[in-house]
């Protein structure tokens, strides 16, 4: 990381790109600078981080093992994972009905029930984001982003719950999750194992 000097704006753009995995559209000044530094790749209308870019962000966000706030963050992360499981299960129910058939969104009662349950999840994640943000101020941005997705969903566009093609509730949530994993330095596999342990009542 030492040999890459980025402005604050460029650094934010790089974090956003790494967390999102890609961006579409014409490159702005920050993105062009990142491409020049070899941190992202511009392919036609698509931009994605290079391995060097991904490594840069991982190092940038990574909380030192001996950081004093680490214990608090991990405790909050343990609260986050069971809610994370609920959100993933809810997105599954949104896409597939219990019998495995595709949810075609023609059953208003079924969809309304899922939307209603999403409020429980949203209520639960609010205090969690607030706790994280006390030590990691950058995390606070996910609260309004989640709310924005909910508002768009309630405006009648079903895509805003789980579509991967917009900043849906699920997409924003996954970005939040990814940023947390990069921060605490945990792999997806470790994360999934921990989540399973927490939801199956095994403690942590």
């Amino acid at each position: 990381m030492a040999d890459v000097a980025l402005t604050d704006e460029q650094r934010d753009a790089m974090v956003s790109m790494a967390v999102r995995g890609m961006a579409r559209g014409e490159a702005n000044a920050e993105q062009q600078a990142l491409a020049d530094a070899g941190l992202i790749l511009i392919k036609g209308p698509m931009m994605m981080p290079t391995p060097a870019g991904t490594a840069y962000v991982a190092e940038l966000l990574r909380l030192p093992d001996d950081a004093p706030e680490r214990e608090r963050i991990m405790a909050t992360f343990h609260r986050f994972l069971p809610i994370n499981r609920q959100l993933r299960d809810l997105c599954t129910a949104w896409q597939l009905r219990p019998d495995g058939s595709v949810n075609d969104h023609s059953d208003e009662s079924y969809d309304a029930d899922i939307r209603d349950r999403l409020d429980d999840i949203d209520d639960a994640v609010g205090p969690i984001i607030k706790r994280f943000a006390e030590d990691l101020p950058g995390i606070a941005v996910y609260r309004p982003r989640l709310t924005e997705a909910l508002e768009k969903l309630d405006d009648g566009d079903d895509a805003w719950l789980a579509s991967p093609l917009c900043d849906s509730y699920h997409t924003v949530w996954m970005h939040l999750h990814q940023e947390l994993l990069l921060t605490i330095g945990m792999t997806r596999q470790e994360d999934e194992a921990l989540e399973e342990q927490l939801v199956s009542g095994g403690g942590a």
Binding site: S101, R115, D154, P164
Partner: protein, 848 residues
């Protein structure tokens, strides 16, 4: 019941023990869905749990502690259980309060469990597991009451959760918070807890969140609630527990009671998906099988029951009808109910949606037993895909950009892998379940996916994957089935499955009910074989265009471009021989059934060289220039091309008639030949073609000694042909409406252009309700067809009339064909089952 009646005033009807409501003249308006479920169960003589419904008019009064106390006294007397006491097995008796509305509604308040709890009543012997469940449930109930009835700020309640991870340690700070920030302290008295619980439920039902849920379901804003009060036993004793049972197997659709049960008590309203399988509950399956069969017969739907069991035996506490059964369940249930005599065959056919039939025949990998399974995981996103292994997002993108297909194979996916997931035709991951990132994203994009294939190893350095003995390199082909969760080595054929026994029975009943014949559009023996397996009675359209491509192309080209008679005749002779081979195979498959062979219909330009390199000489070049057309689809095509090159159709029918003679001799079958002339708009075009065909027929007869029987007919695909149908019928023994072209020419639409550029806007503006290429235009195009049918029948009453466009497989279009009195529809071979069912619906007037 109409929506207005759900909210109309009803009289005070008191407290209603489960199972006593119908006898008191009450209905869904006051008992609401849960009350009615229990009445239904009790009415069948089935054991139901002890409990009370507080009917709609009595709910407001139930927020007083006196009323709550009266209800608790009644409940104790009918259940024989004393609230807050300890059972013989050491369990603690507490209360559950739940709510339901007069109709199925989302947004109901959650069940309030463990009401009536005081620290002093917790028995010493309660196990650790039961204590944890009790604490968790009580916390949910207590915070709900605090937030909605005592108006304690929710974020302050949430903060307690963080500050006191141990739920027992939270109790005192919780009470202090209620006293300090609520409108009243949290009550100790059981009756006050129940009354406050009711108040909290009413407040939640009035909250913006619940109002939004009602609005989303188009339910009245003032839809009322009934409450239900039951006893529960907090225990972890093995002899006491709860569970659910479903009447059908969701994969096969067959009646096969299955479910789960748990020891202990039900904490929340939702069913737990993991637990002990039902067959481990002594006597459970036997009893529930009878219950579920009885309920299916009574309710005519697949059902789920919730039950509790204890020393007194098994009691039913909930009932749910499967509102939207999947295709397998729906067809299997319809057939079973008819066989049991509860409904009849016609009801079974009428209740089955053709869309379900399409679902049942969804493409799947064609398994022959020779395929090599690679690894099995969880079928996380349905559908099948074939592609080359890509071990990262970049490789998947590169493969796709190069025009190949990729299957993204990764340990797990993250948001960073989105480009690869978008590029891939399918996704295979080692970790993760049906709710993993890969699964959610794959379903969101409609990509088949297998997740959690734990036996798969990925070596990113060697760029290989391995499972068991198989080692595959990046770039190797694999196939995945996102429904079964199995990945295979190599490329598997993707095909539609054969109909299940239930579907076969149902389609047999549909055949008995329908009037319209159902034929298939099939161009070769393989297509025909699928069509006959699917129940087609014959071939309604055999296109011959493909027979002119590939190694036959030079013959056709020679015919069109040749400038000497010898070359043309030689090419035609070779064409006749090639056609004989093609038709022989098809006719063998057709057997004694009818087969309509459409003579060449393609526009001329499809056979001409597209570049100068393909030209044989300069003369051909000049000829090609001369033959250039501005609008080939409306140019020298079909019968027009055949009349300009008079050897073409005779060569085709020579091949056809010779093939017929061959199969009569070799296979002892006599296909009923129908020769169809395309794109006729002038009756004399048909007459001239008929002369050419008859001449060949006589030649074949004199050479072989066999007169090949055939019928002559024409497509009706231009508006003029429809207007001239009377004249055409003087010669034609059948007419087949080619509704793709007829729709284009009636509207003056160029299909590709209109569908790509205009249709969306027209549908949005309400100018059209469906694409006229998908659903037959009932006014315009069908009007022309009706006119043509009437004129043709005036001249030849027994003329056979059919349809062979894509509309032949569309239920709404098939209903129009029934109205017009056509004799048959011809659909693509895979749509045959849909057409059979839709044709039956068309007779009974069922809306498909």
């Amino acid at each position: 019941m109409t929506p207005a009646s759900w909210t109309s005033p009803i009289d005070d009807v008191g407290l209603v023990p489960f199972g006593k409501g119908f006898a008191r003249g009450l209905d869904q308006r006051s008992l609401c869905t849960r009350g009615v479920q229990l009445e239904t169960l009790a009415g069948l003589g089935l054991p139901v749990g002890a409990g009370l419904t507080i009917p709609v008019p009595n709910v407001p009064g139930f927020t007083s502690a006196d009323r709550a106390k009266a209800a608790m006294n009644l409940l104790e007397s009918i259940s024989g259980r004393q609230i807050s006491s300890t059972t013989e097995t050491g369990g603690l008796i507490l209360l559950r309060l739940s709510a339901s509305a007069p109709v199925d509604a989302a947004g109901l308040p959650p069940d309030l469990v463990c009401l009536g709890l005081k620290r002093s009543v917790i028995p010493d012997g309660l196990g650790e597991g039961a204590l944890t469940s009790l604490a968790t449930s009580w916390w949910k109930t207590a915070t709900f009451i605090a937030e909605y009835a005592l108006e304690v700020p929710s974020d302050e309640l949430g903060a307690l959760d963080f500050d006191y991870p141990d739920p027992v340690a939270r109790v005192e700070p919780f009470k202090e918070l209620c006293a300090a920030r609520g409108i009243a302290p949290f009550p100790e008295k059981r009756s006050q807890q129940v009354a406050l619980g009711a108040r909290a439920m009413i407040a939640r039902w009035s909250s913006p969140r619940a109002a939004r849920a009602r609005k989303k379901q188009n339910l009245p804003a003032d839809l009322p609630l009934a409450l239900h009060l039951e006893t529960i036993v907090v225990t972890e004793h093995d002899d006491e527990g709860y569970g659910f049972a479903v009447s059908r197997d969701m994969d096969s659709g067959a009646f096969a009671p299955n479910g789960m049960f748990h020891h202990g008590f039900r904490m929340v309203g939702e069913r737990m998906v993991d637990g002990h399988p039902l067959d481990e509950l002594p006597g459970g399956v036997e009893m529930l099988t009878g219950v579920l069969a009885e309920l299916e017969g009574r309710l005519r739907s697949a059902v789920t029951v919730d039950f509790e069991y204890g020393p007194e035996g098994l009691a039913l506490v909930g009932l749910e009808q499967l509102r939207r059964p999947n295709a397998r369940v729906a067809t299997s249930l319809a057939v079973d109910l008819a066989i049991r005599g509860i409904t009849d065959e016609s009801a079974a056919v009428g209740s089955t949606n053709p869309v379900h039939v399409v679902e049942l025949l969804h493409p799947q990998p064609k398994l022959t037993g020779d395929e090599v399974p690679l690894v099995t995981g969880l079928g996380a996103s349905p559908g099948a895909a074939v592609g080359r292994i890509a071990l990262d997002s970049e490789t998947a993108v590169e493969l796709t950009e190069a025009g190949d297909k990729a299957i993204l194979v990764m340990s797990e996916t993250t948001p960073g892998d989105l480009p690869g997931m978008m590029a891939a035709t399918g996704i295979l991951t080692v970790n993760g379940g049906s709710a993993s990132h890969a699964a959610v994203v794959a379903r969101g994009m409609g990509r088949p996916a297998i997740c959690g294939a734990g036996d798969l190893r990925i070596d990113r350095d060697a760029r290989t994957i391995s499972a068991g003995e198989h080692v595959l390199a990046e770039g190797d082909l694999i196939s995945i089935d996102g429904s079964s969760g199995v990945a295979y080595v190599g490329e598997l054929r993707i095909e539609r499955p054969v109909p299940s026994p239930s579907l076969t029975t149902l389609l047999g009943w549909a055949d008995d009910a329908r009037r319209l014949g159902v034929r298939a559009n099939a161009d070769n023996a393989a297509d025909a074989s699928v069509a006959f397996d699917n129940g087609a009675e014959g071939i309604g359209l055999c296109r011959t265009e493909h027979m002119f491509l590939g190694d036959r192309l030079p013959f056709v080209r020679a015919v069109i471009l040749s400038h000497d008679v010898d070359t043309e005749e030689k090419a035609l002779a070779e064409l006749a021989v090639a056609q004989r081979e093609d038709f022989r195979e098809l006719l063998r498959e057709v057997g004694d059934r009818p087969v309509t062979v459409r003579l060449l219909d393609a526009p001329m330009h499809e056979f001409l060289p597209s570049s100068a390199d393909e030209l044989e000489d300069e003369k051909q070049g000049r000829m090609l220039e001369h033959l250039h057309e501005e609008n080939p689809m409306l140019g020298v095509r079909g019968v027009r091309l055949a009349l300009m090159h008079e050897g073409l159709y005779p060569a085709q029918v020579e091949g056809l008639f010779n093939a017929w003679v061959d199969v009569v001799h070799e296979d002892d079958v006599r296909p009923q030949l129908e020769v169809m002339v395309p794109l006729v708009s002038i009756p004399e075009e048909l007459v001239m073609s008929l002369r050419l065909i008859r001449r060949v027929n006589q030649q074949v007869a004199s050479r072989t000694g066999m007169v090949v029987p055939f019928k002559i007919g024409t497509m009706v695909e231009t508006p003029r042909a429809a207007m001239m149908a009377g004249k055409l019928a003087q010669w034609a023994e059948f007419l087949s409406f080619g509704t793709n072209d007829l729709t284009q020419l009636t509207y003056g639409f160029s299909r590709d252009d209109v569908e790509r550029r205009m249709l969306g806007t027209y549908l949005e503006k309400g100018l059209m309700t469906a694409s006229p290429f998908a659903e037959l235009d009932g006014d315009g195009v069908a009007g022309l067809m009706e006119y043509a049918a009437a004129r043709a029948r005036e001249v030849r009453p027994d003329i056979k009339l059919g349809i062979c466009g894509e509309h032949g497989g569309d239920p709404a279009s098939i209903a129009i064909c029934e109205r017009l009195g056509l004799d048959y529809v011809s659909a693509s071979s895979t749509r045959i089952p849909v057409a059979r069912l839709a044709a039956a619906h068309a007779v009974t007037g069922t809306d498909s």
